[in-house]
Amino acid sequence: MRAARFPLIALFAVGGVLAASLEVTVRDERGNPVENAVAYATPKGAPAPAGPKRTAAIEQIDKTFVPHVTVVQAGTTVQFPNRDPIRHHVYSFSPAKSFEIKLYAGTPPTPVLFDKPGEVVLGCNIHDNMLAFVLVVETPYFAKTPREGIARLEQLPAGEYDVHVWHPALAAPVPARTVRLRADETAPFPAAVTLKAQPARAPAR
């Protein structure tokens, strides 16, 4: 059996060896790392394949949407479990996805399908401070930066990509950059963004 496993590992290794990575570092104009920035790469030429993940969830905990920023590939359904003892009325008027889930507790029976690319701003009708973003992209290759500001796009087949960087508070849109990735390459992708002055987010009452 050792012999059978070996080709599997080799296959995997080959698979691993054939994928490129993109290490994206997002910093603001002062050089500080930016959290919640989204980087996604759309392959040039051919449409991107569908990614493995087909569902996401955005919770409401303590009158706050968690996570603040979610990236999904178009066609993903998003669930909105309400973990609060009080009801929420989730809505969005964004053209990419206009919907509302009227006052509810617990988890709504039907998740919401985000099928159009674009920026979706979520709010709660009765809690003006609740805010969340869903960026719907058309590629499975995306990542969100944590506090350190570094995110890794994995398993990218070699080829040419348009790499976009997005943040909810972008002062100006960042132009996409084309990147040619070779297999096995981990290319660095530094990105500088200018953010709008963000008011300190008041805690929801």
Partner: protein, 629 residues
């Protein structure tokens, strides 16, 4: 005098009234101004609070889910109807949605408008940075409070601009709070315009006319004449934007501020009238007490000045006040004057008026001065025999008749009767006051005295009395004129050889049987009088004999015949003196028969006889020696 007091008081009253009025107006103005300033501050705060409330209301409105949903649909008609609906909820004049790009999506105040730029981008900018914006803007000639707030869903998806018109009604609301008239004025390029006001049309027009001046006034406010009414105005800028400035003008008529002082002024006027009346009354009484008595005294003084010392002056004795004292003093003065007059009168009778004056003046001194004067002695011939048949009283009366004549004439010819000498008088011409023509007048007086004495003849004859005759001697010489005696008892008179000579001349009237004999100096001092030289007389103390003359008549009364006789006489006299005895004798003999020359011819024929008897030596001067009496 009443008038004086009343006028004085009235002036004081008017002056104080005027100053009080000025002060009152100042205070009222000041108070008004301060009130307006407070009003402006209140007004400002009201506007701010109002806009605050409007912002809150608008903000709440924009969180309405249905509204937000409607906006998100981007369907213009839906949005418009939602706007209309929501605007009416809070009674806004208009509501508009402005996209994040600054373009109007829908506007209830301009429904046709789509996609145009929003009129007040500065408010949007303000809202972007501060989360809300409010300002006053003029739209279509009307002032609006414009509120711009974001529509959050949950991030701003658009702006809502709500407009609340400031019309006359809202201005009225503000008026009750600011307690002054409120006007909104817009100044944009041309003439200022009144947008909304609480004023009536008349005052509104007046304000509009003076709007430029009003805007230019100071920040503390000032006083202007608006529509003929004094008004305190305070202009406060509300919005200063490039295209147009919006001002709020608070105003109040000064008269309003003066209201509370009306009562005070009325009281003042009443007080003034009262005090005026009281003063008039008091002044009147005072006048009666003062002016009338004074006027009476003045009138009495006038009477006294005219010489009527018997004027009656009423006064209370003992004196009750100063007026009485004055009256009493006046009475005393009048009495004193009357006495003095009497004394002077009496004195004048005793001495001449001139001397009396001098005596009264108290400038009389013992001693005298040398002056030339003409002395006259008069003597009533045979007075004794005249009075033989008379009782003493009658004699005196007769004497007084003569003396009266003499005195009157002497005084008439400006001489002075010196003294009465038994049955005659002595008079002086030229003392105490010398006048030119003294000698002339003395001679004329002598002639007149004689005439008047002769005129007494008929009346005396009627009483069975003999014919009166008078002898007068006149001599002009240097005499001593002055007071003789002691200081307590003195006589003013003249002394000297010349005086004695006059007396001797008077005595000579008997010898020559002529009425008047005058000395050479006297004769020389006369004009217009015909003289007859009588003789040359040697007197004691004189080396040269003096010539004596007789005044015959005034030249104007002369006759030809008398003149011829006179010439003959003087020729005879000359012959005699020049020792042409025979010729002289011949002329004298002729004159013996001439009326009036008998005695003289007789005397000179006697002289000639003497001369014939004793041939005169070379020193003979044809003078008759006068021996001492």
């Amino acid at each position: 005098m009443v008038l004086l007091f009343v006028t004085l008081l009235m002036t004081v009253q008017l002056a104080s009234f005027y100053f009080i009025r000025v002060a009152i107006e100042e205070i009222a103005s000041q108070t008004l101004r301060e009130e307006l300033q407070v009003g402006a501050r209140v007004f400002r705060r009201l506007l701010d609070q109002n806009s605050q409330q409007l912002v809150e209301a608008t903000s709440v409105l924009t969180y309405d889910f249905g509204f937000r949903e409607a906006i998100a649909t981007r369907d213009r008609d839906t949005i418009l109807s939602a706007l209309r609906n929501h605007a009416s909820r809070i009674r806004a004049s208009g509501m508009a949605v402005v996209g994040l790009d600054g373009r109007v999506v829908a506007d209830t105040m301009d429904e046709a408008q789509t996609g145009g730029a929003y009129a007040f981008p500065d408010l949007v900018v303000q809202a972007e940075s501060q989360g809300r914006a409010s300002g006053m803007r003029v739209v279509g000639g009307k002032p609006y409070q414009v509120i711009v707030v974001p529509i959050r869903a949950p991030l701003p998806i658009a702006w809502v601009a709500m407009s609340f018109v400031i019309d006359d009604a809202s201005a009225r609301d503000l008026k009750t709070l600011a307690s002054s008239d409120v006007t909104f004025i817009e100044v944009s390029g041309g003439a200022p315009r009144v947008l909304a006001t609480t004023l009536e049309p008349g005052p509104r027009a007046a304000l509009e006319r003076s709007a430029a001046a009003v805007i230019a006034t100071s920040a503390e406010g000032s006083r202007l004449m608006l529509g003929g009414e004094d008004t305190e105005v305070l202009a406060t800028p509300i919005e200063r934007k490039g295209t147009g400035n919006l001002y709020s003008v608070l105003q109040r008529p000064v008269a309003a501020g003066l209201e509370p002082f009306r009562a005070l002024q009325l009281v003042l006027v009443l007080l003034a009238c009262l005090s005026l009346a009281v003063t008039a009354l008091v002044a009147n009484r005072l006048a009666r007490r003062l002016a009338l008595p004074l006027a009476r005294l003045a009138k009495a003084a006038g009477e006294v000045a005219k010489g009527r010392y018997d004027v009656a002056v009423q006064a209370n004795e003992p004196a009750r006040d100063e007026i009485d004292e004055l009256a009493l003093a006046f009475r005393g003065m009048t009495k004193g004057l009357a006495e003095r007059d009497k004394v002077r009168d009496v004195l004048g009778k005793v001495a001449s008026a001139a001397v009396a004056d001098e005596l009264m003046r108290g400038t009389v001194e013992l001693g005298g001065e040398e002056r030339e004067a003409t002395v006259m002695f008069t003597d009533i011939r045979n007075f004794t025999s005249l009075c033989e048949t008379l009782r003493p009283q009658e004699s005196l009366a007769l004497l007084n008749d003569f003396l009266t004549v003499i005195s009157e004439v002497v005084e008439q010819y400006r001489g002075v009767v010196d003294k009465y000498t038994g049955d005659g008088a002595m008079a002086v011409f030229g003392a105490p006051v010398a006048e030119p023509g003294d000698a002339q007048r003395a001679v004329e007086a002598a002639l007149e005295i004689r005439r008047r004495v002769l005129a007494l003849g008929p009346s005396l004859a009627a009483r069975g009395l003999p014919h009166p005759e008078i002898g007068i001697g006149l001599n002009t010489a240097r005499v001593i004129a002055g007071n003789i005696g002691s200081s307590s008892r003195l006589n003013y008179t003249v002394l000297g050889d010349g005086v004695n000579l006059a007396s001797r001349f008077e005595g000579l009237t008997k010898r020559y049987r002529v009425p008047i004999v005058v000395g050479e100096l006297t004769q020389r001092g006369c004009t217009g009088v015909i003289f007859r030289e009588l003789d040359k007389v040697r007197v004691r103390g004189r080396v040269e004999p003096v010539r004596i003359f007789e005044p015959l008549q005034l030249a104007r009364d002369a006759t030809t015949r008398a003149g011829r006789a006179l010439d003959t006489w003087h020729a005879a006299l000359a012959d005699y003196r020049e020792r042409r005895w025979d010729r002289a004798r011949g002329l004298f003999e002729r004159l013996e028969h001439e009326p009036g020359y008998e005695r003289l011819a007789e005397i000179y024929l006697g002289y000639l006889a003497d001369v014939a008897a004793r041939q005169p030596g070379p020193e003979w001067d044809a003078a008759f020696t006068l021996f001492e009496k």
